[in-house]
């Protein structure tokens, strides 16, 4: 069977992509912040056949809907770990920004997410762009595109090196020599950047995938450091161009979707929510509004241009149901996409190789090209 053309990811933060999505959610507003609700959305996404869910985050409240939307959100890493333990094949990728966070902690958290999910972890590299985040963190503000990119890049370098700092076989349990570890397979990372340095090695053994899958929008981090570029583009052709320009092994197009439901058209549902606040399109981003069949056609067209899509449904409780009944089954039948296989890692599902530690000392192993600096 040829490799399916399109990998399917979906953003499951909050109640949906529309700032007023909470008004059409199938639960009471406060239920948003409960484990029951989170597990239910994750189960729907997994059963639908998505390969990956992503979870938006910030230390600041979401605060959409002109300030009248949800102001509560559980941290994305915590949600991702919970989702990992309540699913079995779904990839899970939280947004984590290293603008103010300690890269050492971020590395441990994501490595641990990979362990608890048996190799299903991803990381959407984020940036805290709002100066208010600096005050919430209690750290000096990082301002301007260059400084934000520097903190994202340096954080990603440190995190990757820390993931590599334990070789795969560092735990030896040699009773004969009384050694649990082989220290020659543990490595200081000795990172020295412009604003800080980190010693290493990690406190967490190497993640099952070697490195969790790194997703990032082009421009935020150097292309060679990401596995998946999250690209825009107002048309499939533009998305394809952006994908080819991104230079990452894979590129996913961002697609906002609002689908017709059995009772209401997508336009009617949007109009209902526009009474409260407008749905501003993401910058230079595809948006599909209409019946499920049209989305299938759009995704088929995208399959020739990009490696995958990240869908951003208007209202999770409404659009996920249509995606799961009418869109994904059709994509699977047409071999445009495939469910992730039980027991495989996210890397395997995405056709990405498992990287060797760049510090590897195994002479038989293929050395990892130093691609970070």
């Amino acid at each position: 069977m040829p490799r399916p053309a399109l990998h399917l990811a979906v953003e499951i933060d909050g109640d949906g992509a529309h700032p007023a999505a909470w008004r059409r959610a199938a639960h009471s507003p406060g239920e948003l912040l409960t484990p029951r609700r989170l597990a239910r959305v994750a189960a729907v996404a997994e059963n639908a056949g998505f390969t990956l869910v992503t979870l938006e985050d910030s230390i600041l409240p979401p605060g959409a809907d002109g300030g009248s939307g949800p102001v509560g959100r559980i941290g994305a890493v915590e949600r991702a770990a919970f989702v990992a333990a309540s699913t079995s094949v779904l990839g899970v990728a939280p947004v984590v920004a290293t603008t103010y966070a300690e890269p050492f902690h971020v590395s441990s958290q994501l490595a641990s997410l990979d362990h608890v999910s048996a190799g299903r972890a991803g990381w959407v590299v984020g940036a805290e762009e709002d100066p208010a985040a600096a005050r919430a963190w209690g750290r000096p503000v990082v301002e301007g595109a260059d400084a934000l990119a520097r903190e994202a890049r340096d954080g990603l370098r440190v995190v990757r090196d820390l993931w590599d700092s334990w070789e795969d076989d560092a735990v030896i349990r040699s009773v004969a020599t009384s050694r649990y570890l082989d220290r020659s397979r543990l490595h200081a990372v000795d990172f020295v950047g412009e604003t800080y340095s980190v010693k290493g090695p990690s406190i967490v053994p190497r993640p099952p995938q070697g490195r969790p899958v790194v997703l990032a929008r082009p421009g935020l981090v150097p292309a060679g450091l990401a596995d998946v570029a999250l690209v825009g583009g107002a048309t499939p052709a533009e998305a394809g161009e952006a994908a080819r320009a991104a230079g990452a092994p894979l590129a996913f197009a961002e697609v906002e979707v609002a689908l017709d439901t059995p009772g209401e058209s997508a336009r009617e549902r949007i109009a209902d929510l526009e009474r409260y606040s407008p749905w501003q399109p993401g910058p230079n981003r595809l948006r599909y509004t209409g019946p499920a069949a049209g989305l299938v056609d759009l995704l088929a067209e995208l399959a020739g241009q990009v490696d995958g899509v990240r869908l951003r449904p208007l209202v999770l409780d409404e659009d996920l149901a249509v995606l799961s009944r009418l869109v994904l089954p059709e994509l699977f039948v047409r071999r445009l996409a495939a469910r992730p296989l039980p027991g495989t890692t996210l890397r395997t599902s995405l056709g990405l190789p498992r990287p060797l530690s760049r510090f590897t000392t195994d002479g038989a192993a293929t050395p990892v090209r130093e691609e970070t600096r």
Partner: protein, 454 residues
């Protein structure tokens, strides 16, 4: 051991609270045994947590350490090392367990309160009010080399920072009024106007201004644990904690003295005596007979303190490298070199003083002990050895006299080390009325019998 007269004790109705401490990094976890499982596989954590839950434990604890320990010029190789980030691991366990408390050891020196409080509150909500936070501090610059902040803290400042940290964390946790979220989707806004507060705090260590993003949980907010044993640490616990760990749980008189000391500090801090649970760490070795238990304990000690481990411990005490010596021979003849503590090996478990070495020599001479036997006999006391019935009698006495409120048990084997305790000891305790027969609450705070969080 005599049977306790339940009517002639200070606390005839006392009930023991058990926690399991999944230590992760130490030489007490036996990794050489064929039944010893992975220290990172999620199945290991799940097995331990579910066994503890089957045994009606209050809590499952994860330790923390932010730099791999070093010895003899490199990473320390002899002990179990490598473990998951605790809040991440516990958030996964929240989905896979029902009742047991989930306690994260998290450091106030190398975290920021806005971020850590939010993570802990997230765990608390995801677990339905079962989160706890074991507050630890670090001051050494060596650990700081892993952090962008670096090792910036004076030793004297670490508890001050911790206290200010807790104050900010509590403000974050209490930032939302009850009923802060609209009851229906028709409301003017998702949050009730004025119900979501703001935290502004300017102290010596923090300058934060944030909007808390989470409501209070079913238990209000996470339960606070503290493990400092110094006077400063005990006072910190008396002012701030809901539960105190200690190393005073083996000898009854020592445990009682510790408990009375802590209760005195509680009174001085203006808190009621029942505001703090005292849960010493311990290790429990169970045998069908006393003889079998003693034999098993001997095996456990020898597996824990291998010749290499004994030489490593002695090297840190003597202050120079003793590897290559004969651990089953006599103590080193040289005098110790008392070196400045450099923080590279966690806590100073054995003390690093001439007095300690003098005591070791005297006792080794008197008993004819080898170096390894001396380390085993004079190292930290490691808990309780006995039959299920004998241990139950002993524990009932500890509880009914107010020497402890329970124990935080470190299994010497992972993941199966709790099986005997749950299957054999717990029923004996239940029979004596000193252990619950079912969970009566859903939150960690309820399990511990603590007053609602304020």
């Amino acid at each position: 051991m005599t049977r306790t007269d339940a009517n002639d004790v200070p606390r005839p109705d006392a009930r023991l609270h058990f926690g399991v401490f999944f230590q992760g990094v130490n030489h007490w976890t036996i990794w050489s045994d064929p039944s010893s499982g992975s220290q990172i596989d999620p199945a290991t954590f799940l097995k331990v947590a579910r066994t503890a839950e089957r045994g009606l434990f209050d809590a499952f604890f994860l330790g923390d350490g932010l730099r791999l320990r070093e010895s003899e010029g490199g990473i320390h190789e002899l002990d179990v090392a490598g473990r998951p980030d605790s809040i991440t691991q516990l958030s996964a366990l929240a989905a896979a367990t029902e009742r047991i408390g989930l306690v994260s050891t998290s450091n106030t020196t190398f975290n920021e309160p806005g971020d850590l409080a939010r993570r802990l509150a997230g765990l608390d909500l995801l677990s339905g009010g079962r989160a706890g936070w074991n507050v630890v501090t670090t001051h050494n610059a060596w650990t700081g080399e892993n952090f962008r902040r670096g090792g910036f803290l004076d030793h004297a400042d670490r508890y001050r920072r911790a206290e200010e940290f807790l104050t900010v964390a509590r403000a974050v946790w209490n930032g939302w009024a009850e009923g802060a979220v609209a009851a229906s989707a028709d409301a003017r806004s998702w949050s009730v106007p004025g119900a979501v507060g703001r935290v502004r705090s300017r102290t010596d260590h923090f300058d934060v201004d944030l909007a808390p993003t989470l409501p209070r949980s079913a238990q209000g907010h996470p339960v606070i644990f503290q493990a400092g044993d110094s006077g400063e640490g005990r006072d910190f616990a008396a002012r701030n904690a809901d539960v105190i760990f200690s190393a005073h749980g083996t000898d009854f008189d020592d445990a009682l003295a510790f408990a009375e000391d802590v209760r005195g500090r509680l009174r001085a801090a203006g808190r009621p005596e029942d505001a703090l649970r005292i849960l010493p760490g311990t290790e429990i070795v169970i045998g069908a007979t006393e003889k079998e238990a003693e034999e098993k304990a001997r095996w456990v000690r020898l597996e824990q303190v291998t010749p290499a481990v004994a030489l490593g411990i002695a090297s840190r005490l003597w202050g120079f490298d003793l590897s290559g010596r004969d651990a089953d021979g006599p103590l080193p003849a040289e005098d110790p070199v008392v070196a400045e503590y450099d923080g590279k090996f966690g806590t100073r478990q054995l003390g690093e003083t001439l007095d300690t070495v003098a005591e070791w020599r005297a006792k080794a001479d008197a008993n004819g002990w080898s170096l390894r036997e001396t380390v085993i006999e004079l190292g930290p006391q490691r808990g309780h050895v006995g039959t299920p019935a004998g241990l139950a009698e002993e524990f009932a006495r500890f509880a009914r006299h107010g020497a402890v409120d329970g124990f935080n048990i470190s299994p010497y084997l992972v993941p199966d080390g709790l099986d005997d305790i749950v299957d054999l000891l717990v029923p004996e305790l239940q029979e004596r009325g000193v252990y619950r027969t079912a969970y009566t609450g859903t939150t960690l705070r309820e399990h511990l019998g603590l007053a609602p969080a304020v």
